[in-house]
Amino acid sequence: MAVAWIGSREVTGTEAARRAAELLAQSRCPVFSLDGDVHAWRAAIALAERVGASYDQLQGATLARELALFTGKGAITVAPGEVRRRADCIVLVGEIPASCRVWLKDVSGTKPDLAGGTGRSLFRVDSGRGAGRQVSSGGGIAQTLAALRAQLAGRSSSATVSNFDALRKALGNARYAAFLYSGAGLDELAIEMLQGIVADLNRTQRAAMLLLPDNEDAWGGALASTWMTGFAPRTGFGRGMPEYDPWRFDAARMIADREADLHLVMASRRNDIARLPRRPTAIVLSRTDAPVANAAVTIAIGEPGRDHDAVRYSHRTGTIVAQAAEKPSQRASAAAIIGAISEALPC
């Protein structure tokens, strides 16, 4: 099985790492797009520091939305285990990631065993089909949340919200209400409005938000980035120190505006990257068996948790977990490949 290519030419992993290091050393403005487990992020951030790169998540817009609440406003949050055991009123807000459906089904099928042991009510605020009563104004989720916040606080709103009385009653009776959301389902303002609803409720009762990240590895990477540099992604080392700027270090923007002259892509799932634009020059680490179209260097890696042991964020625990390989293979981890590239860099 081939493991690396320079252009479309098959080479050894060592040769590919050496060529990637050369390209990084020559680059004036490298940008990294990252996806992988916590160890892959740690390695990539350390490499970014060495070569003065900026980094972003592979599909960074959703993660940026999820992070904005925490960097800008703060929140009242709850762990998923406490939702399962304690929440007697659960409100799904917007679309919930497909990866969380098994957990949601599990939670929906159990009763809270702490603090009362009653059943639980389930509502969906402009969320897709499924269990629970739909709450909607018909004008989009931001309007629904704004109307909900106003009406729950006893103020009037021009929008009519379906099932509002049922939701208000359920929240009023709840010993613990949990609002579940994701950055894929809500924009920044809607997330902030949701936080406002939760803050209002906590004046007299208990309620909290649970972020179900659209991409768990993205959230794990954000945590690693934060402890390593003090900042979440989008962060850059262009001036020799970590700087955080969600606009300036947006990888997609940097590429579109032709600021970046080198693009390192770390994509740990098959088919994440099949083709890249011709510019800028690209180094791709991907779970692939063939060179990625237009990439200057392609290096095959394994999928964390599948091909090799991994450490990653889990929506089921709300923290970082160790995951043994499901089908151990010879595919190298992204962290190992990044390490080889780092070693090949000139001192």
Binding site: R42, L114, M228
Partner: protein
């Protein structure tokens, strides 16, 4: 490499050594001498003070709450970049990298993160493993977890509770146990907003006192060297001194450590109903030999308060500056992150004074420990300034003169003339922490100890002297020279070697399957998950 640190003023209370002399080391260990061999390297320490590497027993340097604080405050870290020292927020940033470097520059070589949620142990240890140079350790938080509260409610045997504590310490790779506002996080989830020592957790019928006493007994019975580390109820409240007093009285002859006592040193006298009870608490400590404390000194400026005392942090969020906060109901342990700026107003000045009163009025430096409860009272980077306040009464008087007289009238601080000696500083920051934590291989320059050594060039400005060590050796490696980091290395996380009962492991597996619908494997981790060579070092329990 055989090294001789030559002609320094050696201060090592653990071996009763004080005076000019040499310190020898090789292969990471202190030697009695060169045994007739010529040294491979000689460090000229004439005019220098030579001590063991310092140990910080209570500093929040890693884990979920700390990282959330970083996430919440990107403006703090941005301000921490190269800028004039007096720039607002200039001292509030701390990545894992900065943490290791800045501690090392001050001569600290071991730091304890005192509040690790066992459920987030892997996250905590990953962060700690990314802190360069220094060794680390953690205290596992218990006291708000359903498993323990249920056992206490159901009158489980002490042996079963000890098994659970041992399992928690072992599986989370901790060096000890901490209890934070015992029972309050569980009560807060049921909408209780205040919680005192004899209040009862709803749904469990268990008082905070009973939780503390249960854990104190288990920690002692297991032979865990560090006494139960207690964050009392009612932190920060006027009148909290009463809570601290009853908690200390509850020690009842068994060792108990009270964390950041300064935050409980508040009485209710005066027209503002907020006064210093520092002298009163110091007197209780002086007369209660089983009690040890750390201070949690407040210093003026911007910081962020980080605590698993979620009830307290929820009530404090109205004072957030900047106006944002994160409150988290975790599995068992909660967390609150509230940025705060200590101002030299009446309340801030009183808090500052209470901490210094505790330092200066507690007689025995073996029982009072040097902390700011980083970052709660102040960032750890303020340590050199605090050393100056303790060692120089004129510096203290100068600082006092700039503060509101109304606040100082409520304290005894202006009348205290004590100045800490170098021997007392060495006890408080080296010998005593090692003894308290059960770390027999550090905190001393005695032969056989690991070669963690701090050399400071003597100068009139104590703050400058202790802020930038002339030389620091970690395990014999030169890591700091003239205040600058010269060498990065990986430290270890120190953990207790507690035996785990197989039946308890099966119980925990069943509990997690039933309550969370997940295998215990989701909540534990193998050592190799840290992805560093030998990330841990074992510490023995008392036999």
């Amino acid at each position: 490499m055989l090294t001789r640190i030559e002609g320094g003023h050696v201060v090592d209370p653990a071996s009763d050594r004080s005076g000019v002399g040499d310190v020898w080391f090789e292969d990471g260990r202190i030697l009695a001498g060169g045994e007739g061999r010529a040294p491979d390297r000689v460090i000229d320490a004439a005019g220098c003070l030579v001590m063991a590497g310092a140990i910080d027993i209570h500093s929040h340097i890693g884990g979920g709450n700390v990282n959330t604080a970083r996430l919440l405050l990107p403006e703090h870290h941005r301000a921490h970049l190269p800028r004039p020292a007096a720039t607002p927020l200039s001292n509030a940033g701390w990545s894992t990298f900065e943490t290791g470097c800045r501690y090392a520059q001050m001569g600290f070589t071991t730091v304890v993160e005192p509040a690790m949620s066992p459920g987030a142990a892997l996250h905590t240890h990953l962060e700690l493993s990314d802190i360069p140079i220094i060794d680390k350790a953690t205290l596992a938080i218990l006291g708000n977890d359903d498993f323990l509260l249920s056992m206490i409610r159901d009158k489980a045997s002490p042996a079963m509770i000890e098994d659970y504590v041992a399992w928690t310490v072992a599986s989370s790779r901790a060096l000890g146990v901490k209890v934070i506002n015992a029972g309050a996080a569980a009560a807060f989830k049921e909408n209780v907003r205040t919680f005192s020592f004899d209040d009862v957790v709803p749904s469990y019928g268990v008082s905070s006192r009973r939780i503390v006493k249960t854990l104190q007994g288990a920690v002692n019975a297991l032979g865990i060297p560090h006494p139960l580390h207690v964050h009392c109820n009612n932190l920060g409240a006027a009148g909290a001194a009463d809570t601290a007093a009853v908690t200390m009285a509850a020690a009842e002859g068994l060792p108990l450590h009270l964390a950041h006592l300064q935050f409980y040193g508040y009485g209710t006298e005066g027209k503002r109903k907020f006064s210093s009870a520092g002298a009163r608490l110091a007197e209780i400590v002086n007369s209660t030999p089983e009690i040890t404390v750390d201070v949690g000194q407040v210093m003026f400026g911007q910081t962020v308060t980080v605590s698993s005392d979620v009830m307290r942090q929820f009530s404090a969020r109205g004072t957030a500056s900047p106006k944002k906060s994160v409150i988290h109901d975790g599995d068992a342990n909660g967390g609150g992150i509230v940025p705060y700026r200590y101002r030299p107003d009446y309340y801030g000045a009183l808090q500052w004074a209470v901490g210094l009163e505790l330092f200066l009025l507690i007689d025995d430096p073996w029982r009072v420990f040097f902390t700011t409860d980083h970052p709660n009272g102040a960032p750890f980077t303020t340590y050199p300034a605090i050393f100056r306040l303790l060692m120089d009464r004129e510096a203290r008087a100068e600082a006092i003169a700039a503060l509101p007289k109304a606040a100082l009238a409520m304290t005894t601080l202006p009348s205290i003339g004590r100045e800490y000696s170098w021997e007392e500083i060495a006890v408080m920051t080296r010998a005593a922490p090692a003894k308290l934590l059960g770390l027999k291989d550090r905190g001393t320059l005695a032969p056989g100890a690991i070669a963690d050594i701090a050399v400071y060039r003597k100068q009139p400005d104590i703050e400058q002297m202790l802020g930038a060590a002339a030389y620091v050796f970690k395990d014999g490696d030169l890591v700091v020279r003239d205040g600058e980091v010269t060498h990065y290395r990986r430290g270890k996380a120190l953990r207790l070697d507690t035996p785990v009962d197989a039946a308890m492991r099966r119980r925990m597996e069943a509990f997690h399957q039933e309550r969370y619908g997940l295998s215990l494997d989701w909540f534990t981790f193998p050592d190799h998950a840290i992805s560093r060579a030998a990330p841990f070092a074992e510490v023995a329990c008392r036999s």
